[in-house]
């Protein structure tokens, strides 16, 4: 266990600059946008105040969030794309480049599955850190906005309201536990499938490449198939209740995740090649 924790620390340490960069970018864009919008609002209100014919309307932090979805969502999108690329890079960087660390990782005096688990845990820590930052940033955004806009025009907004105004936040920070488990469960399963595909591909060529392609294609058909089946309300045709069908589909995802882990461990132990 101690060895695994050390390996997780090692993986996090290697990504720290990119992680801090993503955090910095997100904070800068979202807080910067809030400051600029809030100052604009303040000026507008003050100008309206000077004109006795116009009655300035109330405003809350929900308005900038709702009217500038792209601006607030942009850094989040950058984080998601970076993490998605890192799902591949976290493995491929060990094989390519000036030094091939995969030799060392496969020769550590511990079960090889620890390498897999450490990379997975590191990715989850990155996702968790960025989500935690986003939550904190929403509070900061509200505080900044409220500090700039004159109190007399301010309308209070809850954190839940803020999340609900922007689709990106709705997906990123689901307010119900059910959706949280669903979104992140699906996300983690996709990461596990990609990890396993990479490890199969890193087996002996050309067999490894064919195996990886076949596995990735099979999993894509299966997992995308479940989403299509759900969207097409296939349960009616199968004479099942909607909740029964949902449980069956969730079961398929859980089995796919377990199979990916088993196959990934097996590939690391038996077929992966430097």
């Amino acid at each position: 266990m101690k060895a695994l924790l050390k390996l997780i620390h090692f993986e996090i340490h290697r990504f720290r600059y990119i992680l801090f960069g993503l955090m910095g970018l997100t904070a800068l864009v979202q807080i910067g946008a809030t400051v600029l919008i809030a100052i604009g609002d303040r000026m507008e209100r003050l100008a309206e105040y000077a004109n006795p014919e116009v009655v300035p309307g109330p405003v809350s932090v929900l308005e900038p969030l709702a009217n500038n979805r792209g601006l607030y969502g942009f850094p989040v999108l950058i984080c998601i794309v970076t993490l998605l690329l890192y799902v591949f890079l976290i493995w491929y960087r060990e094989w390519f480049g000036k030094s091939t660390l995969i030799y060392r990782l496969l020769m550590l005096p511990m079960p090889r599955r620890n390498v897999y688990l450490a990379k997975l845990a590191a990715l989850l820590v990155f996702i968790g850190s960025l989500l935690a930052l986003q939550l904190v940033l929403l509070l900061v955004i509200r505080a900044v906005f409220n500090a700039i806009v004159p109190d007399e025009y301010l309308v209070a907004a809850s954190l839940a309201d803020m999340i609900n105004t922007n689709e990106v936040f709705q997906i990123l920070l689901p307010l119900s536990l059910e959706f949280f488990v669903l979104f992140y469960g699906m996300g983690i399963t996709c990461v596990l499938v990609l990890f396993t595909a990479v490890l199969l591909e890193r087996g002996r060529r050309p067999r490894g490449t064919f195996l990886a392609a076949a596995y990735a294609a099979g999993m894509t058909v299966l997992l995308v198939g479940t989403i299509v089946a759900r969207a097409a309300s296939l349960h009616e045709w199968l004479h099942l209740y909607a909740y029964e069908f949902t449980w069956i589909l969730a079961g398929i995802w859980v089995i796919a995740a377990a199979f990916a882990v088993w196959l990934g461990f097996r590939a690391l132990n038996r077929t992966v090649s430097v």
Binding site: L106, M110, P111, R204, T271
Partner: protein, 241 residues
């Protein structure tokens, strides 16, 4: 003793190893020779479980370690690493690390196997500064540091893949000196090299790979006494068309 038996491996349908068998023993330096692409490095990687095999067996002090036969054993990596240290032909550490960080990494991840005192001794011997970054090391210094990382692991066997490859004369001399001092005493060494002349006088046993099989294996001293031939003489006979 490490016993390699009937190793077979295909790469893109082309057979690379067609049944390689040999043994190496503690206290001896065994040289695995062969032309480029003969499969020397592959054999070393197979011993460390870094390439999957099509067949064959690898026994380390009597324990089977070939991936296709023992890959499910949870303690396989630990067992292998406790017995064999592999020094690949490149430095397997992140280039962004400083040397002291790499030494600390080894100390952290190889408890009970890593010998920090020996590493320090070797760093001084090679004149390596701990504050340097791996990315900034010259090829010669990278090869020396690679040796430090491999030889400071207290294992009965050491595998070295081309330790003299592409480095200057003085670095080669410094590395060659390692073979005649106490760091390799009583350890079984398996080395692949094209610079045979650097270590010829130290080699106890030669294993010559050709066309995916062991074309010839002999005790170098016996060969000298019985047939009055040096290792290079025999290599000429085996490899020259």
């Amino acid at each position: 003793m490490i016993e390699v038996r009937d190793l077979r491996l295909r790469y893109f349908r082309k057979p690379v190893l067609k049944g390689v068998s040999f043994t190496m023993e503690k206290g001896q330096i065994t040289c695995l020779a062969g032309l480029n692409g003969a499969g020397k490095s592959t054999v070393l990687k197979a011993i460390m479980g870094l390439v999957p095999l099509d067949g064959g067996s690898i026994r380390i002090d009597g324990t089977e370690t070939a991936l296709h036969l023992a890959g499910n054993r949870r303690d396989l990596n630990r067992f292998r690493v406790q017995h064999v240290s592999y020094i690949p032909d490149r430095l397997a550490m992140p280039p962004s690390m400083k040397l002291w960080e790499a030494l600390r990494f080894m100390d952290d991840f190889y408890p009970g196997i890593w010998n920090g005192g020996k590493a320090k001794e070797m760093m001084t011997f090679f004149g390596l500064g701990e504050r340097e970054r791996i990315a900034n090391l010259s090829k010669g210094n990278a090869a020396k540091f690679n040796l430090v990382l491999g030889l400071a692991l207290d294992t009965p066997y050491v595998l070295m893949d081309e330790p003299f490859s592409g480095i200057d004369l003085f670095s080669r001399e410094a590395i060659a000196e390692v073979f005649s001092n106490s760091w390799l005493e009583d350890r079984g060494v398996l080395i692949t090299t094209h610079e045979i002349q650097e270590v010829e006088h130290l080699i106890d046993k030669m294993v010559m790979l050709k066309d995916g099989v062991v074309a010839m294996a002999f005790d170098s001293e016996e060969m000298r006494l019985a047939e009055n031939k040096s290792i290079i003489d025999v290599m000429r006979e085996v490899y020259r068309p």
